[in-house]
Symmetry: C2
Subunit: 305 residues, 2 copies
């Protein structure tokens, strides 16, 4: 191996040791040399970049073994001028978060936790469209790497069998009329042991491995996520959200369902009719009025038969 790459025996030995330290299994036998046994499925840039075919997303990948939140790191990078498509990915978040500052449990090496920087020419009122198209990307990527059929719950949850398997968080820096940058975070429970998660997450969460009964490659999932989102985002930039609305609806579980919406102190029930061209949810209340939901927690409470 030393000869082939023109490096010394000691240099090879050093690299092998570093790979072993981070979890690669590598055999060595005196005359034959080293042989690769098993990859630890770390989400390191070298692994992700292998065969990644995107034009914007992941053009630069910053890897951290541990972060408070990939959103914090990517936000810092964005403020220092990092370009669109830069990704921050980590094996573990100590303070992973979802909407409204809620905890997103992020045990080491079990899930996928990354954030990417976006710089679209958007008004602040359009930010809702970003998690919606990211939701489509997450569903499509999961469908590519597993036989599972995840669905979207408006605006930002990815569910399988009614339990949460993924979540999306879009945070923006903007002035009154123009978005400066968006940090889009995606978290997926991949090989997560959900019974070990803290409450209240434990009761409502599931993971891909739990649902399909086998280990799922995190590296492969990240590659598919970046590729799917890259394609959707480029369509969005050229043609706007309306072009992606039907695709979103095909993967959504909200529209057509009876829903309860809690927004601050207000609570309402009704039937989710559709999303409008801007991405907001239209709900017909029991008194017949149609309300445009721009924020709030939506629970699905049943469907007509």
């Amino acid at each position: 191996m030393g000869k082939k790459f023109n490096v010394s025996r000691t240099a090879v030995w050093k690299h092998v040791n570093e790979l072993r330290r981070i979890g690669y299994e590598i055999d060595s036998s005196p005359r034959i040399g080293y042989s690769f046994v098993k990859s630890p499925d770390l989400v390191i840039p070298a692994e992700i970049a292998l065969g990644l075919n995107t034009s914007i997303m992941g053009r630069r990948i910053l890897y951290r073994e541990e972060v408070t939140s990939t959103q914090d790191e990517a936000g810092d990078a964005a403020r220092k001028g990092a370009e669109e498509g830069v990704v921050v990915i980590s094996e573990r978040q100590t303070r992973g978060r979802g909407r409204k500052g809620r905890l997103w449990a992020s045990p080491p090496r079990e899930g996928v936790y990354f954030s990417t920087i976006l710089r679209p020419n958007l008004r602040p009122t359009q930010i809702i469209q970003i998690p919606l198209i990211a939701g489509v990307a997450v569903c499509k990527a999961i469908r590519r790497v597993t036989p599972l059929e995840p669905r979207i719950k408006w605006p930002n949850d990815i569910t399988i069998g009614g339990k949460k398997v993924g979540g999306i968080l879009a945070e923006m820096s903007s002035d009154m009329d123009r978005v400066n940058h968006i940090v889009l975070g995606i978290g997926v429970n991949v090989n997560t042991e959900c019974s070990l998660l803290p409450e209240p997450t434990r009761g409502i969460a599931t993971s891909l491995a739990e649902k399909c009964g086998e280990y799922v490659s995190r590296v492969r999932l990240v590659q598919c996520l970046l590729a799917e989102f890259d394609a959707l985002y480029r369509t969005f930039l050229v043609s706007g959200f309306d072009m992606l609305r039907e695709e979103w609806k095909a993967l959504d579980s909200t529209v057509g369902s009876w829903v309860k919406v809690i927004d601050g102190n207000e609570e309402m029930k009704g039937k989710a009719l559709d999303i409008d061209g801007e991405g907001f949810l239209l709900v017909r209340k029991e008194n017949g009025d149609v309300k445009r939901i721009i924020s709030g927690d939506v629970s699905l409470i049943g469907r007509d038969n």
Copy 2:
């Protein structure tokens, strides 16, 4: 003086020298001691805090002789957890900015340039309301310290005789449904020599001193600005924007005027009818349609007589 404050003669001398360095004129005579001649009207916290009677705004004032932009400094402080009402003020901005990244010329010691941190429980779509109420505060404060009658041009300009004397910039950090913090920046041309400003600012700007023909105390203006905004903001938190709408309209020059609105590549003309309960401008186009303007540059092109 040493005796009265129980400090040594040398300590007094040191402080006096520091005050002289930053611009205070202080006479000294051998037997009598020091006598105060003239304050340089610096916007230092000790001066501003003197007699300031606010409950939120300016509870902590961070002073910098020079910054790139008070928005940047206040944003950093906000991300580190600085509380609502913290003010960053400076004598000079090297990259002062307005909406859409435009330059706000900020020559040293001539204008007032400060930013304050707000943490209201708002949706991102409501951010427009913050510059609107700040506009009311700026007009009221200027009316208190000068005989001038500035007016607001929707959404964020303060004008006198059609020329820009002040501007407001609200930048936010938020997720899809909740504002995390807002950094509200206010810039006023106080004793600014507008003929020396760079183009394109020069031709469209004026200053308080130019309009009223005499030097205006920046410290006094900042005190009034903080006091007026403090009162309005507290009303806003309790009662919402609708309570302040009439007060805004009493100081506004936009409603009732014919306007040209440029938003990206779109341009339209019409008559400004009103602002709605959320702060957006309603314009009746020539074909009779009423359009709700949520961003864009508005120019006033005349009034009916």
